[in-house]
Amino acid sequence: MHELSIAISLIESAEEEAARHHATGVRAVHLRLGPLAGVEKDALLFSYELAAEGTSLQGSRLVIEDAPVAVFCPVCRERRPVRSLQSFCCATCDTPATEVVQGRELEVIALEIDS
């Protein structure tokens, strides 16, 4: 399980961003997470609390927003969802998908801070 390593990187990222915004405290961290990032949501939520302990983010919430997989379908010529990770094809026309445009995200998108 590497979610603890990820949570530690997440805390460090959030701390740096909070400092850049002259925060005196952080209430919540908002994260965008795609299924292709290789990170399990529940394990990350659990690890977050552990990793935050003893840091300036202790007691803050982690809010995870899903970034579902989207591909560019060459037949539809549109951005489309896929059937599933196990059936990686355009959900509209079933063309096998190779061009991923969303779903790898593992990024901090917002902070709720006191300042």
């Binding site: 990187s9 292709l36 290789g38 094809c89 593992l106």
Partner: protein
């Protein structure tokens, strides 16, 4: 207490690793070394495949390897029998390699004296998927003994890899490996993924693998018989 303020940021959580990986990739390209990493579940045959790869490719190219292992030096010792330079990365409790570990292991290396660098990741089909190592090509290995449905169970690792390598094909008949199902499953999770088939035991498929790699790598090979070991 005053009301909290919502500030938008946009920051990749693994930015530090991504920056390091990008630096490594640039160094590899500048030095003309083609870097290949290998991921698989424990025991799929990464080290055996690399042993064969190093000793065969070492006859025509300057090759080297890094190998990640939680605790032991065993894999590094096996790979050193090929006479190629090998560095061990002991990860302790960490279940994957990251770019800083690769950079650390390469300290003092003359990359311009290499044509190919192979990196064996820790045996794990989940954790390595998040970390870019600066490699040019990532292989995911899948042995015939672990079942045809591995791709369906671990689609993400197949997504971060460029090529699937089915290993231990000498055992395929004994375990009644279903080739059609395996290939269909790989294509279902990662359409158009190239698939190679090898046996490190019999050497079957190793020529095709070497040809595949040489065709992709824009590196100059040493003149035949003139391989230089750094």
């Amino acid at each position: 207490m005053s009301e909290p303020r919502l500030v938008e940021v946009r920051r990749n959580v693994l930015r530090q690793n991504d920056v390091l990986a990008r630096e490594l990739r640039e160094r590899f390209r500048a030095a003309g070394v083609y870097t290949v990493s290998l991921v698989s579940s424990p025991g799929s045959g990464k080290t055996a495949f690399l042993e064969k790869t190093l000793s065969r490719m070492g006859q025509r190219h300057r090759v080297a390897a890094l190998v990640g292992d939680l605790a032991t030096e065993n894999d590094a010792a096996r790979l050193r029998r090929s006479l190629a330079p090998v560095a061990q990365i002991t990860t302790g409790t960490v279940c994957h390699l990251d770019a800083s570990m690769v950079r650390g292991a390469l300290e003092g290396w003359r990359l311009d004296e290499l044509d190919f660098l192979f990196i064996e990741n820790v045996g794990n089909l989940v954790c390595p998927s998040s970390y870019d190592l600066g490699e040019e090509l990532r292989l995911v290995l899948l042995s015939v003994t672990e079942g045809e449905d591995k791709p369906l169970k671990y689609p993400t690792i197949f997504h971060t890899a460029d090529v699937a390598v089915i290993t231990k094909i000498d055992l395929a008949a004994a375990v009644e490996f279903d080739w059609d199902a395996a290939l269909a499953n790989i294509q279902a999770v990662r359409p158009q993924m190239p698939v190679l088939r090898v046996s490190a035991k019999t050497g079957e498929g190793m020529d095709e693998w070497q040809g595949f790699l040489e065709a992709r790598a824009p590196v100059s090979s040493a003149p035949s018989g003139g391989a230089v070991k750094p």
